[in-house]
Each structure stands twice: as C-alpha cells, then as structure tokens.
C-alpha cells in the first residue's frame, strides 16, 4: 500500500546516439520523459511534427486496411475475444516485418486499391439501377430511343405532366395550333409523375407541334441510345451482373490477402512505436552535437536504466530526488489481492502529492460492503466462479480489466460468505422447491439471522459497519497527520472527532429512543456515563477551539470552530447513508423470493417444472444483473463520498512511461 518513490532523471548524450538511446528507453518502458527546460541559444527543440504525422498517417492506413479485411474477410472471433488480450510476438518476427516493410506497405496499398475498386463497382451498379428505374416507363416503346424519324417524318419522344391521354394531347395541339395537321400521338405509359408520349409528324410541322406541346410541359427524353428501351434495360442488367462478378473477384483477392493480417498488425504497431518516438523527440532539447532527456523514473528502476544506458552508449545519466516545487507522477504498488481495487481508486483520482495510497484499506471495505449488499450465497458463488474461469482462461487479458475482474471475484466470495450467514440461496429457492415439488418443506436456517425477519437488527448492524468504515477513514486521516508530523492536526482534527462521536453514541445508547429502535437495552454504570459526557465535551471544545487555528483573528477562529461542529450533521447523514446496506440486501432477497413464488405458481407436475425452470433462469439472471449493478454503484458511492470524504482528496496524475504503446501485439525480447 504505497505510492512508489519517484526520482528525477537527467540524461545527456551524443546526438549520433539519439535514435539508439530513445529506442532503448522506449523498449525498457520505465522513464516518463518530461522536459521542463526552456529553449536557449545552445539548446533548441526540433520540430518533428511532419515525421510524426507521416507515421500517424501510416498507422491510420494500416488500421484501415485491417478494417477493410475485417469487412470482406471477417475473422472469426468469439464473444470473449475482447478478453483475450494482446498476442506475444518475439522481436525476430518484428525485425523481419521492419526489414520487409516495403513489401507489406505494398500489400496495404493493394488492399486500399481493391477496396476503392469495389466502391467504384458499387457506385456503377447503383448508377445502372437508377438508369433502369428511369427507363422502366418507356419499356413498351419498341423503337430505338434515339429514333429521329423517317425521310419525311420527325419523331418526338418525351414526357409531359401526369394523367394525359391521347385525346387530351390532340386537344392541346388543336387549341394552340388549330391549322396544324399530319401528326399522331401515342401514350406509352402514364404514372403519377409523368406521361410518356411518342409523337410522329411531317417534317414541316415538327417545329410548331413541339412548340405547342412544349408550352404544356413537354421535354424530350434524356436517354440516348440506338437500342430500344427494353434493350437498353437489358444492357444495364448485364452490366450490373458484370460488375457484381468483378466485385466477387476483388473480394476473392481480399480474402487471399487476409492471410497477411497478422503481418499488417505488426506493421501497424511498428508505425505506432515510431510515431511515439518522434513525439518524444520533438520535446527534447538538442544542441549541435548533444541532446538532453529529462524525466521521471521509479527509484527501483534507477540502477537498471543507468547500467543499460552506460553499457551501450557513452553518455551522462544521473538521478536526483524530485525537487520540492515539482509534482511527480504517481505509480501505486499493492499486494496482488488489494491491487485489484486500484481501478476503483483511479476512477476517483490518484493520490495527490504527499497523500497516502488508500487502496488496501479501501479494498477490504469494498469487498466487505459489496458482499453485504448482494448477500446471496448462490449469486456469490456464480460471480466468483464466472470471474475465476475468465481469469484462468484469458491470462493475457489487459491489466486493468484483469484487476476489476479479480476484484469482483473477491466480491463474489464475500457475497457467498454473507449469503451463508443470512441464509439466502437464490432467495428461498430450497424451501419453495421442496414445498412445491416434494411436498416436504426444508428450511435452511441462516447461520446468523435472516434480515427480512429482523430488519431492525440488520439496520443497526448496517449502521455499525458504517461507523467502522467512517472511523477507518478518520484513522487514515490521523495516519497521514502523524506521517507529516502534524501532531496538532492529529489531536484537533482526528482525535477530537473520535471523542465527540464516541461520546455522543455512548450517550445515546442507554436512552429509550435507542432501545425502541434496536430492541436492545443498555445499562451503563455511572462511570461510563460520566466518561461519555467527558468525551463529548472535551471533543467538542477541542473542535471549537482548534479547527479554525489557521486563522489569526480569535473571533473568527472561534466562529469557524463553531461552524465545524455543524459537521456533526455531515456525520449523521454519512452514517444514515449506510442504511442502503440493509435496503439493497433486502432487495436482492425479496426479488429472489418473488421470482421463486412466481415460478411455483403452476404447481406440481411436468408443466409446473418447466415453468419453474424458465422463470428461474430468466428471473434470477435479471435479479443477479440488476443487483450486481446496484451493489457496484453503491459500494463505489460509499467509498467515494463517505469514506474518502473523511481523509482523501486525490488529483495526482498517473505515471505514463515512454514505452512501446502497441495495439495488437506485445513484443517480447529473447
């Protein structure tokens, strides 16, 4: 349970070793590079944006190629593939890829080209389809589309507004050009958008006829072809088939190329590493022949890095304690069991400078409270087994995911424990089944007591657990005070509150009010009563006098102290907040009972059994899911609001060493 000690590292090396040093640091992955120094005459930063964006573009290119492969030649992935984590690849394989990157770049380009051609074919197909749709109204016309007429006649093919008949067309021309003769109309088709018409007339009448019908909205057909509409449609259909065949062929090629998927992934990761390197390079200060690296390193890695660098390069590397005015990044270290809760802490915020790492105590409370909220032995066992199997099956899972799953595994154990104490196994499943199907009621007695039978007792215990949790938080505050040698703070901010709260509780316990709520009556000897008054008064006075001590003005100081006493309401609401332990525990148990009861409503017999199993499966899955979510959310809340509220602020930044940030593979050195 500790925040690891950070050291500041300075490296000064020859420019010719720049690439080597950076690559060495990157592959070791233990230094966070952070240059604070300003540019000056001798040392300048160089602009690496263009190289960096070149490599970032390549990363994008390879990733897109992989996406294309996934689209046309999908890789079979199981539901749990997200858990599997990155594959191990040894660096020989990586070197091979780097050496032949031209070849693999060509493959990537090839994939992009194929994809482009497929898109072209697809858009050609949709163009054809559109044309077919446009030609459909004309398909009854059995002459070529571009027919213009005979020696003495002209042909007009085109469309007008909807709903016209031949008679109406004759009437239109009659009206506009009464003396015109020698023409004939044929309506080819008519739909709600247009009327397709065919007109033939003597050459000398053409102009006047067209003028007449144009005035009514006639436009000539926009297709040009020496085929008939039917023939043209046929042609387009053939084209579509040809394009589709082409797409199939291209897809076949992509499927062939999908064999290179693994290599492209490596290439992508290689570019990713390069892009990172250029990003860091851009932050370094460089002179004509040397360059400087500044950064943070864990104390434990200090010697290895020094040795490794000195062995390969001639350079100067030194480490020092982090200066007072700098805020180093944070790296936590906890035993494996407790490290599982580091994710919960990170979500709230890493310790600020000088704060302790509260992961271990928080983890213990987390597991304890989570189990209390879910509190069903069968659910606990299911959660435990599911997490256990997933952890065993996917040992390469990402670290933070593995931590959360491990945390839930322990929470499952805790749930199992509380479930046995409270006698919940899928609620009252055993009782219901034995009564309904075997007509002989078996009741499993809880080892401790059943909260549903005695909710007030459970409420009192919930508040007691809450008090322990809050006292724990206060104790950690005290620990931090002592560590900083702030003894005044320890007595006036921690011990005083312990005295006040404990005194008040001791005063409350023998009262009738408490006895009526808890059904427990306490009779303290007078000495304890006096002690409780003394504790409360001394505590309260200390708080009033001391909590405003940072203020010089005595009146203000006293007022601030009085105001701090008001925090008692905070303590009260914090404490009552733990009543959710009872409510959520009851919720799990009662909903499980509802499900069991619904299942048993069909009674005995085959149908009854089938209905029971169905209701059991659906109902308990639902109940487990919703209560898991509830327990998770509310345990987090109790930690963040009530527990951390007593001592912890957070706000540190995580240690992010310069390393090989890969997406697909882990590169292992031999």
């Amino acid at each position: 349970m500790a925040v690891l000690t950070m050291k500041k590292i300075h490296i000064c090396a020859m420019k010719k070793d720049r690439k080597g040093v950076l690559e060495k640091l990157q592959s070791m992955g233990v230094v966070e590079v952070k240059t604070d120094g300003e540019e000056n005459e001798a040392f300048k930063k160089i602009n690496t944006t263009s190289q960096r964006s070149k490599y970032e573009k390549r990363v994008q290119n390879t990733d897109q190629a992989l996406e294309i492969l996934q689209e046309y030649a999908p890789e079979k992935t199981s539901l749990f593939s997200a858990l599997a984590g990155k594959k191990d690849v040894d660096d020989d394989k990586m070197d091979e890829i780097i050496e032949n990157r031209r070849k693999y770049n060509l493959i990537v380009k090839n994939i992009h080209d194929l994809k482009k051609e497929i898109s072209n074919c697809n858009s050609a197909i949709s163009k054809c389809e559109l044309a077919i749709e446009g030609l459909m109204p004309w398909r009854n016309m059995d002459i070529p589309i571009n027919t213009t007429g005979t020696k003495t006649t002209d042909v007009l093919i085109g469309s007008m507004g909807p709903g016209l008949t031949e008679d109406m067309l004759y009437a239109i021309v009659e009206k506009r050009q009464p003396e015109l003769s020698g023409y004939s109309f044929q309506v080819i088709s008519s739909d709600k958008d247009q009327t397709c018409i065919f007109a033939i007339c003597l050459k000398e009448s053409t102009a006047r006829l067209e003028e007449a019908i144009r005035a009514e909205g006639f436009t000539r057909i926009s297709y040009f072809s020496k085929r008939t509409p039917e023939g043209k449609i046929e042609k387009y259909r053939k084209d579509i088939l040809a394009y589709q065949e082409r797409i199939e062929k291209l897809r076949g090629k992509l499927v062939e190329l999908s064999g290179e998927r693994e290599n492209i992934r490596l290439l992508s990761d290689y570019y990713r590493i390069r892009a990172d390197k250029y990003e860091v390079l851009g932050t370094l200060l460089q002179s004509n022949s040397t360059f400087l690296i500044e950064g943070y390193i864990l104390e434990q890695d200090e010697e290895t890095v020094k040795a490794a660098l000195n062995q390969e390069f001639s350079l100067m590397v030194e480490t020092e304690d982090v200066p007072e005015d700098e805020i180093p990044p944070i790296k936590l270290k906890n035993p494996k069991v407790f490290a599982s809760a580091e994710g919960v802490l990170e979500s709230y915020g890493l310790p600020a400078k000088g704060e302790m790492d509260p992961t271990t105590p928080m983890c213990i409370f987390y597991i304890f409270l989570f189990g209390l909220m879910l509190s069903d032995a069968a659910y606990g066992l299911i959660v435990f087994l599911a997490c256990f199997i997933v952890l065993k099956k996917f040992p390469k899972m990402g670290e933070s995911l593995a931590k959360s799953i491990r945390l839930f595994m322990y929470c499952g154990l805790s749930t199992l424990f509380w479930g046995i104490l409270f006698g919940g196994y899928f609620g009252d499943l055993i009782t219901v089944v034995s009564r309904t199907f075997f007509h002989h009621e078996i009741i499993i007695q809880p080892i401790w007591f059943a909260p549903l039978d005695d909710p007030m007792k459970m409420l009192i215990f919930s508040l007691l657990f809450g008090l322990i949790h809050l006292y724990g938080g206060l104790a950690l505050k005290g620990y931090m005070c002592l560590k900083k040698k702030d003894f005044v703070g320890f007595f006036s901010d921690v011990v005083s509150w312990y005295m006040l709260i404990t005194g008040l509780i001791l005063m409350l316990m023998p009262t009738d009010l408490f006895a009526s709520i808890s059904q427990m009556s306490f009779h303290f000897p007078p000495a304890v009563k006096t002690l409780s008054y003394a504790l409360a008064i001394v505590g309260a006075v200390t708080i009033v006098l001391m909590s405003g001590r940072s203020n010089k003005n005595p009146v203000l100081r006293f007022a601030l102290g009085l105001y701090d006493i008001y925090n008692l309401t905070g303590w009260l609401s914090d404490l009552l907040s733990y009543s959710r332990l009872l409510a959520l525990g009851l919720a799990t148990g009662v909903i499980a009972q509802v499900i069991n009861q619904m299942g048993s409503m069909m009674g005995d017999g085959i149908l009854g059994v089938i209905v029971f199993i169905l209701v059991f499966l659906v109902g308990h899955t639902f109940n487990l899911a919703i209560n898991l979510l509830g327990a998770y959310v509310h345990t987090c809340r109790l930690q963040y609001v009530e527990f951390f509220g007593k001592f912890y602020e957070g706000g540190g930044t995580a240690f992010a060493p310069f390393k090989e940030n890969t997406k697909y593979v882990d590169i292992k050195e031999d």
């Binding site: 979500s347 007030m456 907040s577 959710r580 959310v633 509310h634 809340r637």
Partner: protein, 157 residues
C-alpha cells in the same frame, strides 16, 4: 372482503404504479440519449446501457414493497386476512414513501442519467464519475424503500 384489505391493496398497487411510472420515464429519456451516443459510437454501448438502467431500480423497489405488502395481507397465499380499516390505511400509508419518492426520484434520476450519458459520449474514461452522479439521486429512493419496508413489516395484521 373488508374495506381494510381494499385499502391495503390500493397501497400496494400505488407503490408499483407510481414508482414504475417514475422508472419508465427515467429509463425512457436515458435510453433516448443512450441511443444517440450508440449511433455515433457503438463501442460505448455497454457503458450507456448501464447508465440507462440506473433509473430503473425505483420500479423494482415499488414491486418489492408491493410484494411484501401483498404477502403480508395473505393475498399471495390465497387466503387474504380480513383487515380493519385502520390496518388497511396503515399499509396504504406505509406504501406511500416508495410510491411518491419512487415517482419523483425516478424522473430526476433519468434526467441526471441523460446528462451522464453526455459525459460518457465526450469522456468515456470518466464513466465511474458519471455513474455516481446518477447514483446520488437513487439514495433517496433507497431511503424511501427502507422506510416502506420497515413500516409495512411493522403494521400489525
């Protein structure tokens, strides 16, 4: 059947109806926001689904209290007790906290959930904080649930 039993059943159904309405509204608005995020980025599905589910608990709490109340008056086992008007009213009153607080907190939790979905859309790594905002509202539903359970349990029948 006595008037007391009628009142008790009224209480139980009110718990289910009102709390259920609150949750239906909350889950509804949260679901709309969640669907918007998923249409942009399907990989956030699991996170926004959890946020959508959070306002759903009030309905379950209502169901829970109704169930305890109904089993208390023996309706589920088939031989309902003849309740006096006073006992019936007591059960009705005992159901009201979760009914009313369930309705109001469900709706408000839904709106907070919508805002939290917004956080996840922009900063998915802040998911836990987004979730906590929503969980804060739920506290009051839990307190109401607690009092309803204790009260229904304590009514002499």
């Amino acid at each position: 059947m006595s008037m007391g039993t009628v009142l008790a059943i009224t209480g139980a159904v009110l718990a289910v109806i009102l709390a259920g309405m609150g949750s239906a509204y909350g889950v509804g608005v949260a679901g709309q926001a969640a669907a918007g995020v998923v249409s942009e980025d399907p990989s956030k599905f699991a996170k926004v689904l959890i946020l959508q589910l959070l306002p759903g608990t009030q309905g379950i709490y209502g169901l829970l209290v109704a169930f305890i109340a109904l089993s208390k008056i023996g309706l589920l086992s088939g031989n309902p007790a003849e309740l006096s008007v006073a006992s019936g009213l007591m059960i009705l009153a005992a159901c009201l906290p979760i009914a009313i607080v369930g309705l109001v907190s469900g709706m408000h939790q839904g709106r907070t959930s919508v805002a939290s979905v917004g956080i996840v859309a922009k900063k998915p790594e802040q998911f836990v904080k987004a979730m906590l905002f929503t969980a804060m509202v739920e506290t009051y539903a839990i307190l109401a649930l607690l009092i309803s359970i204790l009260a229904v349990n304590g009514v002499p029948v």
